[in-house]
């Protein structure tokens, strides 16, 4: 389990460009040797995108709620009505 978590962390550091030039090259070399690492890295990049989409979906809903709430306040809505 521990090893797996370190790997997740390493992939994150690579994808977030937190590695030094040397570490980055080492990681990329490791991906060539170990295709399962390359697959995991690709899939993990997908996770960040999904989390972003999830966040956007929820935030859009939140903004709609704020909009409806503010529109009930005449001092707000009369500014552009």
């Amino acid at each position: 389990m521990r090893k797996e978590h370190n790997e997740t962390e390493a992939i994150e550091n690579y994808l977030f460009q937190r590695l030094s030039e040397e570490e980055r090259m080492q990681f990329e070399a490791a991906m060539i040797v170990d295709t399962s690492l390359a697959d995991k890295t690709e899939a993990q990049a997908g996770v960040y995108r999904l989390v972003r989409r999830f966040w956007r979906r929820q935030t859009r809903k939140k903004l709609e709620r704020i909009y409806r709430q503010l529109m009930m306040d005449a001092s707000f809505s009369r500014q552009f009505r």
Partner: protein, 169 residues
């Protein structure tokens, strides 16, 4: 989200939205279009703020109105000579969202909601590990860390299974 953050967001909204609607109206758009563009502008602002990659040279209000204008023009297919980087990557990513990806997200919201919430809290709400432990009821920082990793691996396996991103990046 901390309560003050919600209040902050409402404050920004209250401050900038009326001017954004007025501007879009003057340019010939509707209030509804203004709202859509303004919400996208807020998403860009909040997202950049959360990931620490925001560069606001003026006020937040001026920034939001500027981005709203650009997004609205863009939605009308009007040429905007130089799309700011954050707008370009946003509209691009929104455009290329695929059905398969939507379905996977729908599925995850049902089957892995807690994990999605944890990851979102970590990457977007910028909660610290003690805050995450508290919010999700873990009894230690260590178990919050372990859980975050487990979630990452769980969702990653789902992505891998479906090959959503294969042959793309």
């Amino acid at each position: 989200m901390k309560p003050s953050e919600q209040e902050l967001l409402i404050g920004i909204y209250r401050d900038a939205f009326p001017a954004a609607v007025q501007l879009i109206r003057r340019m010939g758009g509707s209030a509804e279009e203004a709202k859509d563009a303004f919400h996208d502008a807020l998403l860009i602002y909040l997202e950049r703020n959360a990931t620490g990659s925001l560069q606001v040279r003026t006020s937040v209000k001026a920034y939001l109105i500027g981005i709203t204008r650009i997004l609205w023009l863009h939605s009308r297919n009007e040429t905007v000579t130089l799309l700011p980087e954050e707008v370009e990557s946003f509209v691009e990513e929104e455009r290329e969202e695929e059905e398969e990806e939507k379905r996977l997200l729908d599925y995850l919201v049902l089957a892995g909601k807690k994990c999605m919430d944890i990851l979102k809290a970590f990457y977007y709400d910028r909660l610290t590990l003690p805050e995450i432990a508290e919010r999700f009821g873990f009894n230690s920082i260590r178990s919050a860390t372990v859980q975050k990793h487990k979630c990452m691996e769980k969702i990653r396996n789902e992505v891998k299974k479906r090959n959503v991103y294969e042959e793309r990046t």
